[in-house]
Symmetry: C2
Subunit: 253 residues, 2 copies
Amino acid sequence: MLYAAFPDSAKGLPLFSGMTEQDKQALLAGGKVRNCPRGQMLFAHGEPVTHFFVVISGAFQLFRANAEGHEKTIAIAKAGQTMCEGEIMDSCHAHRVNAVPVEDSVVMAFPAAWLKETAKKYNIFALNLLSLLAQQAHLAEVEAEHQATMSAAQLVACFLQRLCVIYDFDPKGFDLPYSKSLIASRLGMELETFSRTLAKLKDHGITVDGTRVIINDLQRIEAYVCGVCSVSGECQTHQAMEKMGFDEDRKSS
Amino acid sequence: MLYAAFPDSAKGLPLFSGMTEQDKQALLAGGKVRNCPRGQMLFAHGEPVTHFFVVISGAFQLFRANAEGHEKTIAIAKAGQTMCEGEIMDSCHAHRVNAVPVEDSVVMAFPAAWLKETAKKYNIFALNLLSLLAQQAHLAEVEAEHQATMSAAQLVACFLQRLCVIYDFDPKGFDLPYSKSLIASRLGMELETFSRTLAKLKDHGITVDGTRVIINDLQRIEAYVCGVCSVSGECQTHQAMEKMGFDEDRKSS
DNA sequence: CGACACTTTGAAGACGATCAACGCCGGTGG
DNA sequence: CCACCGGCGTTGATCGTCTTCAAAGTGTCG
């Protein structure tokens, strides 16, 4: 079986941290692996919420379209991230976004009730889920703040810097993992603005040629995207620590 | 004792719904009532997170200041709302915002550990908390979307409409519950822009004179602030239903 | 080679921020 | 009782930024 290894990759999720192997095994048995070819919508805005999803590989664009047909990307869910936990815990019965894979992807799908029942049955799982939702809420708050206070250039710089953290890219040179249209939509700006902004970032020590990005001076960028990011960084560092296994830095210090 | 009634008002919170009177009683014993005179900071950005707060009366401005001293109001927490649950569940040890009462207020303060322990001990509480955080995350997401896609006029119209829902104001005539400076900061715009925008809203059926607001045609406003609000309204209606006691509309339908 | 998706570039216009001045009101002190 | 002040809000003028519409460039794939 080619997919035999997939559930194992789910075991490493922070969501299951602190649980016994047996419990994890039993829980993961409740989910089904599912292939999602690029572009084929996994669920649509307004449809009933039936499953909780864990992205095993690939990435999904989560977006909404307003009355005029303009689309705004709410989030991009990559491997290791989850979808629909908010809708399920909020007892919201209709999907609040569309989900489309931006590349060929694989998910694990658990019935919606599985999530609530697991949270009810395992305290540790409930706490992990609480932590996850608290992080999401905070990231969304920070994003709202950024949208309200930052210029396009700052938003882009912040996004690129974040990419390095999330994907563990080398700031000295990496390729954009998504199309520029998708990134622009994610940042809530027009493609034209995004394109022009990339050029302007040269003045701030970021060079972009095609999909290739080089961040010359990370310090300078962090200062540029201002206090908010770096301050809330305390918590993001904490998240990263947890995801890497809690004590990675206890060794080094 | 003047304050004897306060803990009782906390008992009605959705957070405690589904718990026995005894359990509620025992839990509320873990909190202390505290007076917060207007303007006196309850906690500051960067300080250690020591307590979980329930606002009993009054309202708090939660805000951050960036390097240049510019302040952005992240949220306004009014009676019945809670503060710091996200920071605690995220194991974030430093406050991410400043909290200042915008009017004389009263809170109940519970030790931070109380929240985690209660979530661990009572499954129903954990689920209620999950629901709360899921809602917060969603509201924050919607807000980020609004900031990215809406004009100032739409943001203001949306805010005023929301006020009616949250405070149960009569759209036909009500007074702004906060200063215009605070509202402008909450909406991420300058006071001047907010002021000018209020005038423009006459064209859309909203009259504002001083602090008095009259929304002539609610339908029209809902259409104006576009699909996003009304669509995500599914869930907000649901929230409202839950807060009012679950089956208010089951009777009427 | 041509079709098509994606991106870049140009020019015009709308919108919000900023700076500055003024009006309004409640409080304080002479 | 009036003069002064400070907080708050309004209004005007200007400027920079982002969107919009239009056109052209780049790449891939049949």
